[in-house]
């Protein structure tokens, strides 16, 4: 009798499944608890990767409940890549399907974004003073090179405050509000900044290659009170601007 890897895998991920025939101990008896070693290794290592990768979500739902969710996730959705740095890429959708709200799923998205930023390619930022040296008539058509470590997580909830409070072990004090999380990586450690939704629209437009004037117009359409200074400061402080490309004034 041949034990296929399909049979082996299916039994690994289903604790109720019988141990496949053809797996034995030294005396030729059914493998029993010996197969459970593999079952446990697989599920425990995958669950542990999620515990490490989603500390704020774990704190928000509680360690025991998160462990149970992580084990259920490991059995239903094993990773599709051997790169465990990407473990849990589908956890936000899994949490929503399990009945958790978008507020929690967005914290999971932010934790994924922080991990992606941590592993993103290195780039040299522009000197923050360089932006101030661009003449006003050239600002409209200025395009910014954006670092690959930049991530944006727009949310209808206070995703940044919620994650921060969870990591600090404190109750979330502020009232819920829409926030866009900006993730930058000024050195090796990602920094998370809360932006207003219109600021998020602005940075997203810049990241897609829109000229500064167009990005400001899109953000202003979202919120007439929008001004770009705070978002630009956050980008400069985060080392997220890698080039300034001006076009000749018309």
């Amino acid at each position: 009798m041949s034990v296929t890897q399909e049979t082996f895998r299916a039994a690994l991920l289903d604790p109720a499944a019988p141990v496949p025939d053809g797996l034995t101990d030294a005396a030729g008896r059914p493998a029993g608890r010996r197969f459970d070693v593999y079952r446990n290794n697989v599920v425990a290592s995958l669950a542990a990767a999620l515990e490490t990768g989603f500390p704020a979500v774990r704190a928000l739902v509680g360690p025991d409940r998160f462990r149970a969710l992580a084990i259920a996730h490991a059995r239903a959705h094993p990773p599709r890549t051997p790169l465990m740095m990407h473990a849990g890429a589908d956890l936000p959708a899994f949490l929503e399907a399990a009945g958790f709200g978008a507020a929690l799923a967005d914290v999971a998205r932010l934790e994924l974004a922080v991990r992606e930023s941590y592993h993103a390619a290195d780039t040299a930022p522009v000197d923050p003073a360089a932006l101030g040296q661009i003449t006003p008539e050239r600002l409209e058509n200025l395009r910014l090179g954006i670092a690959p470590a930049l991530r944006l997580v727009p949310s209808a909830h206070a995703v940044v405050s919620r994650r921060q409070a969870a990591l600090e072990g404190s109750a979330q004090g502020a009232q819920d509000r829409p926030e866009t999380a900006l993730v930058t990586r000024p050195g090796f450690d990602p920094v998370v900044t809360a932006l207003a939704p219109s600021e998020g629209v602005f940075v997203a437009a810049l990241a897609r290659g829109a000229p500064l004037g167009t990005a400001v117009a899109r953000a202003a359409a979202h919120d007439p009170a929008f001004t770009p200074a705070a978002a630009l400061s956050a980008l400069l402080a985060g080392g997220a601007i890698t080039s300034l490309e001006t076009e000749p004034a018309p």
Partner: protein, 284 residues
């Protein structure tokens, strides 16, 4: 087949599995540690601290790149994208050694993050040799293949593990990575003699030795069931087997693996010092 004479250029000295928490210590006070091993899959990101640390280590130590995700023992074909990523890392780093496992971890697209066992038959032998050939072609170098820890037997197995490994190395030109803890764990779990296993092992093809800790449990019949946990000191019977193996075959690059419940640097370095003392008693 590739020329295996330069399979591994690590020194016949102790190394340890590198953990990021030890970066400062290993670069300032390496002690007996002369080389480092990294898991390929942890260094396939584009940049940031992991790549910066790796570049700094590569300037200072010979490196061994140890793959844990190529799934050479898989029934299905190798993942070409993953193989290309690993080849890119090896090409950039030019490490002293590249090694992988006689095991599988991926089926279809599901990565199971464990080193899973395969039966030893003519069919699986052909398939593993094909996969080793493909890996060696992609990496443009011979690799070392590691003997697994085993918790159970396949009724269909028709070839001993040592004959299986010898045949792979003969057909593909790959070298072998001898994990002495895995030998002890498997022999205990399968009720066989670890010394007989080592006597049958093709030591002339061994380019690296692994030593790690294991946990002890029992199965439902009260028989010993050792788990290859890499979470504690190397056990005394494993040190004894290691000393006997290199006394007979000569010194080899020797790695201390400690991957879970990672200790402080002094504790890990002490294990390397213990290996160094045993290596020092072996004529080169």
């Amino acid at each position: 087949m590739l020329d295996s004479t330069r399979t591994c250029t690590l020194p016949d000295a102790p190394g340890v599995g590198f953990k990021a928490c030890h970066f400062e210590a290993v670069t300032s006070a390496p002690g007996a540690v002369r080389w480092l091993e990294i898991h390929a899959e942890n260094y396939l990101g584009d940049g940031g601290r992991p790549q910066a640390q790796l570049a700094a280590l590569a300037e200072r130590f010979p490196l061994s790149v140890h793959g844990v995700g190529l799934s050479i023992g898989a029934e299905r074909g190798l993942d070409p994208d993953h193989l290309a990523r690993v080849a890119g890392l090896v090409d950039r780093l030019r490490p002293a050694s590249f090694s992988e496992h006689l095991a599988w971890s991926t089926h279809d697209t599901a990565f199971l993050n464990d080193l899973l066992p395969l039966p030893y038959t003519e069919v699986t032998l052909d398939r593993v040799c094909t996969h080793v050939d493909q890996v060696q072609a992609a990496l443009n170098r011979p690799i070392l293949l590691e003997n697994p820890s085993t918790y159970l037997s396949f009724a269909e197995s028709a070839i001993t593990e040592t004959d299986f490994l010898r045949e792979i190395t003969d057909r593909t030109g790959c070298g072998l990575l001898l994990d002495v803890n895995n030998v002890f764990v498997s022999a205990t779990n399968l009720g066989t003699d670890p010394r007989a296993y080592l006597a049958a092992f093709p030591m002339e093809r061994v380019g690296e030795i692994h030593l790690g800790g294991h946990d002890a449990q029992e199965d439902e019949h009260g028989a010993p069931l050792l788990i290859d946990s890499h979470g504690r000191e190397v056990a005394d019977p494993v040190w004894t087997l290691y000393a006997e193996a290199i006394a007979a075959a000569g010194p080899r690059p020797t790695l201390i693996e400690w991957d879970t419940d990672v200790p402080d640097w002094a504790t890990l370095a002490a294990e390397a010092t213990r290996a160094e003392a045993i290596l020092a008693r072996v004529p080169a």
